[in-house]
Amino acid sequence: MAETLLRIRGLTKAYPGVVANDDVSFDIREGEIHALLGENGAGKSTLVKMIYGLVAPDRGGMELRGAPFAPGKPSEARRAGVAMVFQHFSLFDALDVAENVALGMENPPKARDLARQIRDVSETYGLPLDPHRIVGTLSAGERQRVEIIRCLLQDPGLLIMDEPTSVLTPQEVDILFETLRKLRSEGTAILYISHKLEEIRSLCDHATILRLGKKVATCTPSETSARELAEMMVGSSFAAPQARAHQAGAVRLELRGLTLPAPGAFGTPLRDVSMQVAGGEVLGIGGVAGNGQDELLAALSGERLAPAGSVWLEGRDVSREGPVARRDAGLLTGPEERLGHAAAPDMSLIENGVLTASRRKRLVRRGFIDWPRAKSFAEDVIERFDVRTPGPHVAARALSGGNLQKFVMGREIVQEPEVLVVNQPTWGVDAAAAAAIRQALLDLAAQGAAVVVISQDLDELMQIADRFAALNEGRLSPARPVAELNIERIGLMMGGAHDLETAHAAK
């Protein structure tokens, strides 16, 4: 049995309003690939920041090879043999590979020696990279190799990798995995952070699962099914949802095979998304972040036009209509990003009210803005949603995240939409305010509106949704009534089903 390399004992870190890590303990052995698994916001990042010396724990401690280990800054962690490859690279586009590597080292060797070392390492570990290439010309996968090589040159005992495959192509993922296996065979321990279950099952020796800042379990992923992993990730505190009495009316919003290419290099394409939402019901859409949530919202709000015949509102094809026409027709939306997307940071709350309510609330007459009316609309939202602000003239960016969220959610709900689609409606909002927003969404549905809530908070979805569907790589699963759901089914819908599908294909 291999020796323990890093022993983590009771690490706790609290931020105002949230405990990011609560008494987390586990061991990483020499020469193993150890997965750190959890949903967004489970506390993975905070934990590795503590190991890498970026954040100091409130309580608890670590031992490295039996000696106390409490790095005050990353350079101390590096000296002790801990290296980290971040999800977002810190490289200079205008410099070449060798120069970038040198910038990240404590005592860089001479340029010619360094170039030779880079070649050696890149050959040894199967990471093809020319030290004289300019970084600006490299692909995301090649940039990651620069970061990895920078770490390997310091001969680390523990290599931390934060969601390394999120920016890679499948071929690049294969190359990376070969490298990681080779490192393991040479005795380097790797802490591998991810929420992709199949990757972890094929690569990792052990997995520690975090949920809401607490360690749920440590298991051997190759002996655990993807479904079981998903269940542990989502949590056993899952309360069986109750069927809520509601009377579904006629279908108000319908998607028919909506397919849209990815908006940018790191966007997610929407693949054949179909759904129906009736008046009076709440459809909850779950899924891990980055599986098409933003893209789905943009296609519904009208920011991105969809192919004709794919978006139907009250039986009318609105695919080719922009946000203004869709609002007129009763379809309102609330994007996830508050500052800069749902609201203009430097504009007042009054002006931010005009942003989406100008026509439905008749704040504009013959092209001229009725400022007194706009002010009373903003005041109405502030009062009904208990937005804490000195007044409606305050700039949006001066509000706390939770208060601004209440304002932008309230702005749409006060307009009494026929169909409302919101993404992460209670993200960063305190518990009382989150409950108020959820209640407002339920009230809206009770009045006959069709409500779609996209969220990564499963508890929230179970609490308010009548039916549940999950987004996975831009595909939307068929919606099921929440009363029929159990944790196993949800795990399947959120990723398990897709994993099984590929497993079948492999056979």
């Binding site: 709000s301 009208g302 920011e303 922009g322 946000p323 203004v324 026409a325 609002r327 939306t333 994007p335 990003e337 800069g340 997307h341 749902a342 609201a343 203009a344 940071p345 430097d346 504009m347 002006e351 005009v354 942003l355 989406t356 100008s358 504009v364 092209g367 001229f368 803005i369 400022w371 305050v394 700039a395 960016r397 001066a398």
Partner: protein, 361 residues
């Protein structure tokens, strides 16, 4: 250590104070510059800022010049400011100004020697259209192909300058001018002359147009939904798209308006103070208007005041060259300082200065 800390929201007081502080700082730095050049700094500053308005010897001549110089600056700057608010960077107003003058003059000269009252309105229309069309080139290229409007509009200034040189010695040359380059003089043609409306004040149709533009721009930006959309696009492009604003439309509207107003300024200049199309007709109003727009905080009333101030430094600068023998370049340097200090002071609107060591977070 000095640290800048972002304010929760832009400071109202600093927004108003920065132009005043910038003018003050320019006077101090400019005074040092003039002293180094061997002039008495106090006399130089007085010659630039005071004498053009109140010196009994020159004021009679220089005071009307204030409106004559300020009008094109204000007219162009108003147009530019609308685009700058939306993040549309039209740097080519000088070219739009030239093309407005050329097109307006050409439309008039085609009718020479008609004495119809319709000649001047027709010229105004042609001038506005000329400037608009010239601005549509970068606008359409940006919308269709995503080109950079800064580069395209700036390049088109040099094209316009060559068009100007060509027509003043070719197409629009005065047939009775004994072969000298330059068009007929509009001052000698009643129907096309943009004359002083009230003698001795410098008030001409261009000044009237500038005042109307200030009022309309104020109403547009403060009250109208289009003005709101323009500001929204500049402040938060994603939020603007979410609100349903078409970015392409904003580009077309902003560049079009700026071109239209610059073209008008060119037309009023060529038919009035300049009098004719000539190779050296343009005098940099289109570029100075950029400074005026920023000096006026992109606000219509601010631009009105900034235009008058800038006109004053022009007239006073000429006076200083004449009276004190200061080189022309030093006057341009002085005007450049004004923009430099304004932009530097601008930081304080959004940031607070903190002295002392940064706390470890």
């Amino acid at each position: 250590m000095i640290r800048l800390e972002k304010r929760p929201q832009p400071s109202q007081a600093w927004t108003l104070a920065t132009p005043v502080l910038a003018v003050g700082a320019t006077m101090i730095a400019g005074g040092i510059l003039f002293a180094v050049l061997g002039a008495d700094p106090l006399v130089a500053i007085r010659t630039i800022f005071w004498d053009p308005l109140f010196n009994p010897q020159f004021a009679g001549f220089t005071r009307p010049q204030l409106l004559v110089k300020a009008a094109p600056l204000i007219l162009i700057a108003i147009g530019l400011s609308i685009g700058f608010r939306a993040g549309v960077w039209n740097i080519g107003a000088e070219g739009q100004y030239i093309m407005g003058a050329v097109c307006g003059a050409a439309a008039g000269l085609a009718l020479y020697p008609s004495e119809s009252v319709l000649v001047f309105p027709l010229m105004i229309l042609a001038g506005a259209l000329g400037g608009w069309a010239w601005a549509m080139i970068p606008a359409v290229l940006k919308v269709r192909f995503g080109t950079n409007e800064i580069l395209v509009s700036l390049m088109l200034v040099y094209v316009a300058e060559n068009v100007l040189a060509s027509v003043s010695s070719g197409l629009l040359r005065n047939p009775e001018g004994r072969g000298f380059p330059g068009s007929r003089n509009f001052r000698n043609w009643e129907a096309a002359h943009n004359a002083e409306l009230i003698p001795g004040t410098g008030m001409h149709w261009g000044v009237v147009a500038a005042f109307i533009a200030v009022i309309l721009a104020y109403v547009l930006m403060a009250r109208h939904i289009q003005g709101f959309n323009i500001r929204l696009t500049g402040e938060a492009p994603r939020a603007a798209r979410f609100a349903g604003v078409s970015p392409a439309r904003i580009v077309l509207v902003c560049l079009g308006t700026a071109g239209l107003l610059a073209g008008l300024a060119g037309l009023f200049e060529v038919t009035g103070p300049a009098g004719q199309i000539s190779i050296d007709f343009n005098s940099g109003y289109g570029f100075t208007a950029i400074i005026v727009a920023f000096l006026g905080r992109l606000h219509p009333v601010g631009i009105l005041l900034a235009g008058l101030l800038m006109a004053l430094t022009y007239i006073g600068g000429e006076l200083a060259q004449l009276m004190l023998g200061l080189p022309g370049a030093s006057i341009q340097l002085f005007q450049g300082m004004l923009l430099f200090f304004l932009l530097a002071m601008d930081v304080f609107t959004n940031y607070r200065l903190r002295l002392g060591r940064a706390e470890v977070a």
